[in-house]
């Protein structure tokens, strides 16, 4: 729809016309603010936690293990310097991996993620149904926004 609108503006004589083709869904998926009657709708982006331990792909497991031990969660997420999600280190990975290994060698690559504009009710039901305690939330560029936890959605 927006490409047609942009062409229409061109024909009307507007000379600086841009089409944000990724659109409103892209904006919402970045957890950016909106206006309107549904601006306060219950979406998981409002329940994000950012205290989960993150580690670089070349970080030693021993270092990550220490950080996780001091955190409220039993897992860590592996990201690039600009927070693109690469993988997850579950508690079992951390417990059994060689302390001298680096995270990229041990992590579960490409874990499933959600976008922040998913409805709370649907995500809560999904997590409960699957027996998951949390989900990882990223933006359309794969950057980590945080985690959402089933207990926070009750």
């Amino acid at each position: 729809m927006s490409p047609r609108a942009a062409c229409r503006l061109d024909t009307l004589g507007f000379s600086q016309v841009y089409d944000y083709m990724p659109g409103k869904v892209d904006w919402l998926a970045r957890n950016l603010p909106v206006e309107g009657t549904d601006a306060g709708a219950p979406l998981i982006g409002r329940h994000l936690r950012d205290e989960v331990v993150t580690a670089a792909p070349d970080e030693p497991i021993a270092d990550v293990r220490a950080c996780v031990a001091a955190s409220p969660h039993s897992f860590a997420l592996v990201t690039t310097a600009d927070r693109v999600l690469l993988g997850r280190l579950r508690g079992t990975h951390l417990d059994h991996a060689d302390a001298n290994a680096v995270t990229a060698e041990v992590m579960e690559a490409g874990p499933s993620t959600l976008r922040p504009h998913e409805p709370v009710d649907a995500v809560r039901a999904h997590l409960v149904d699957k027996g998951h305690a949390y989900a990882i939330v990223t933006d359309p560029d794969g950057r980590l926004l945080g985690t959402v936890h089933a207990d926070d959605l009750m």
Partner: protein, 66 residues
């Protein structure tokens, strides 16, 4: 007309671009980008665009470009 992604949109917004949602009125009323005005595609013509400044950039968007 130029197609842009979020980084370019951010830059244009920081420069004070005009933002136009072309979805129907009901969808705009429910949720729209901050500062956007609504000119539904079906009503987009010379009369409904008189409030837009032709000397400044205009960014249009819908739900997902389709």
């Amino acid at each position: 007309m130029t197609t842009i992604g979020y980084p370019e949109l951010r830059r244009l917004l920081d420069q004070g671009t005009q933002l136009v949602e072309v979805l129907p009125v009901e969808e705009y009323a429910e949720m729209h980008l901050p500062g956007a005005v609504n000119i539904p595609l079906k009503t987009l013509d010379a009369a409904t665009t008189t409030d837009l400044d032709r000397g400044r950039p205009v960014v249009v968007y819908c739900w997902d470009g389709l």
